[in-house]
């Protein structure tokens, strides 16, 4: 601990734990949403930014996580922790399945097959009434963990903060590991990576499963946050938000993803009153980033020297 820079993350975590003491309920709800979407963006960035796979299944992963949680808690009366773990596991498995086409198909085929997969799942949520209660939505009961009630947004905030920190720390370490470097190597040049002894197929499967696991955790948080989930929550406009978070935050930067969530999460709340405005604003932001700022917010943040070394592989 001699190097003061090592204190940056613990200090940020402590700072981030303070807001519930002095914000009102509405702001608290927005802060909770920011944490949910920060985890979504971290998970999506692993596939989109680090593995370089154009996959459209992220809203579907998010839905699988949320529905798994809601079904475990609402139908089978499980406590939150096992429901969360099942959501992470089930979504990781779904991610693994979705990665299979990525192994033999070129980029745009993967995009198309994942688009079809996501829409198919949404159709499933609507039509599998016996499991999901269809369009009327599935209620999620109030949860508790280790005897602490999670009924209030304040209590959930600290839980979400712990989960976000855990996911961020875990993903950063994983990306710095041999596996994480293999993921980036496969993105850059699959043949060269294979020549170096990396198995591209296994690496891609691993990246999708990890991404699915993280987004599944976000889905579980989302279910807890809303208290009731609907099939419409996982439609194409949800996917647009996910794309925007990652692209505007910065492809291939976990910190950028968190920054993207902080900047963008409140926006849908503000734009919801005018039909179509949310789509217009987010698509224009996306176009702006693609044209003028390919590195997104992470590109801006990297100008601050203290942050630079934390931005890319962590």
């Amino acid at each position: 601990m001699s190097d003061p820079r090592r204190l940056l993350w613990p200090a940020l975590l402590i700072l981030a734990a303070l807001p519930p003491f002095f914000v009102n309920d509405y702001v608290q709800y927005i802060l909770n949403s920011i944490l949910v979407y920060a985890v979504v963006a971290i998970g999506f960035n692993i596939v989109l930014g680090y593995a370089g796979q154009l996959a459209f299944a992220n809203a579907a992963f998010f839905g699988v996580g949320a529905y798994t949680t809601a079904i475990c808690m609402g139908r089978w009366h499980w406590p939150f922790l096992p429901a969360l773990l099942s959501a992470a596991l089930v979504t990781a498995l779904v991610g693994l399945v979705v990665s299979l086409p990525a192994l033999r198909l070129r980029a745009y085929y993967l995009a198309i097959v994942t688009l079809a997969f996501g829409e198919l799942l949404r159709w499933g949520y609507i039509h599998a009434d016996w499991l999901t209660l269809g369009s009327s939505g599935l209620p999620v009961p109030a949860a508790s963990m280790f005897g602490i009630s999670l009924a209030s947004d304040r209590a959930r905030y600290w839980l979400f903060l712990c989960l976000t920190a855990l996911v961020l720390w875990g993903s950063a370490n994983l990306l710095r590991s041999r596996f994480g470097r293999a993921v980036v190597a496969v993105r850059e040049n699959e043949s060269a990576a294979a020549a170096m002894g990396i198995a591209p197929a296994l690496t891609k499967i691993g990246a999708f499963a990890w991404s699915g696991c993280v987004v599944g955790i976000a889905g579980a948080m989302f279910a807890l946050l809303l208290g009731r989930i609907n099939p419409e929550s996982f439609d194409l406009s949800q996917l647009l938000l996910h794309f925007s978070l990652v692209m505007i935050g910065g492809l291939g930067s976990l910190v950028g993803s968190v920054a993207g969530a902080v900047v963008l999460t409140a926006a849908p709340e503000l734009l919801r009153n005018v039909a179509g405005l949310e789509e217009i604003v987010f698509s224009l932001l996306l176009i702006g980033v693609l044209l003028f700022m390919p590195k997104g917010l992470a590109g801006l943040l990297s100008r601050v020297a203290v942050l630079r070394e934390h931005l890319y592989l962590g």
Partner: protein, 289 residues
């Protein structure tokens, strides 16, 4: 009954074929997979709706105007959005078309709200009876237009000097530029042509379907299914795949369940890509390292 289902399926499938054809042509020339093609189609239907309802223009004129508007829109998209990032990775190009699709959807949603709208039928002549099979006026026009366009593009791309230039611009943009072809200008024209083709599909569909901002996404997935069935980049394959997709939907809807109509295309995409990724008529593509 089977014959009737097949005929209706071909009528419906012609639309998918037209949309898939536009995407295939664009893909062949620019190697961009246009995720906004469904929204160009949707946008043209709303342009017609606007012209007919707000300005009271005759149908034929409105249709021509819509084609022109979409041609200009397509060219502008190429010039403003695609050209500045033409050297960027494929993912950025695809992402740009995704952003465009949401932008068009948002603009239409803001202008007309999320309500479902409809137009009066365009063709009012009597349906043709072939034995017991009814061939609706709309289907005749749609199928005819599709056949004409397919034949036209086949000649244009496979048998003409223009087609050779298109091939050259795709295979080696640099080489094509060296022999004096204006490659960016060429791409701009093809974006315009592809958007105009989406407009033709939109014009044919607008009078017989419901108009709503999300209609493009539905057609996009079906066009993808058509292209997947026929093999990506294969003109004839896209058309055959579109027709097949239309027939498959009708059969699945009648013999299995009406809910199947919505998901037949998703299932086709997933099954074909996993079992025969080059499509029904495609050859396996070998990638040079």
């Amino acid at each position: 009954m089977l014959a009737q289902l097949v005929v209706s399926g071909i009528g419906q499938g012609s639309i998918y074929a037209l949309v898939a054809l536009g995407m295939t042509i664009l893909f062949r020339v620019t190697t961009v997979v246009n995720f906004a093609h469904g929204e160009l189609f949707m946008f043209s239907a709303f342009v017609i709706y606007l012209l007919l309802n707000a300005f009271d223009v005759p149908y034929l004129l409105a249709a021509l105007a819509a084609i022109l508007v979409l041609f200009v829109l397509g060219s502008v998209v190429e010039r403003v959005l695609m050209r500045p990032i033409r050297h960027a990775p494929h993912m950025a190009l695809a992402m740009m078309t995704v952003a465009l699709s949401y932008l068009l959807r948002g603009v239409v949603r803001m202008g007309w709200g999320g309500d479902v709208r409809s137009l009066p039928p365009m063709f009012t002549f009597d349906p043709v009876m072939l034995g017991t099979v009814v061939l609706a006026a709309q289907d005749i026009v749609t199928i005819g237009a599709t056949l004409l366009l397919v034949a036209g593009f086949f000649v244009l791309l496979q048998r003409s000097r223009f087609g050779k230039l298109a091939q050259a611009a795709t295979d080696s943009p640099r080489g094509a530029a060296l022999i004096g072809l204006n490659v960016p200008g060429f791409h701009r024209t093809m974006w315009g042509v592809a958007a105009a083709m989406a407009a033709i599909a939109g014009i044919l569909v607008a009078p017989v379907t419901l108009l709503y901002p999300d209609m493009g996404a539905q057609v996009l997935v079906r066009a993808f299914a058509a292209m997947t069935l026929g093999g990506f980049g294969n003109l004839g394959g896209a058309v055959a795949g579109g027709l097949l997709m239309g027939v498959l939907e009708q059969l699945a809807g009648f013999y299995v369940s009406t809910a199947m109509i919505d998901i037949a295309s998703y299932i086709v995409i997933i099954v074909v890509l996993l079992s025969r990724p080059a499509g029904l008529f495609g050859r396996v593509e070998r990638v040079r390292v």
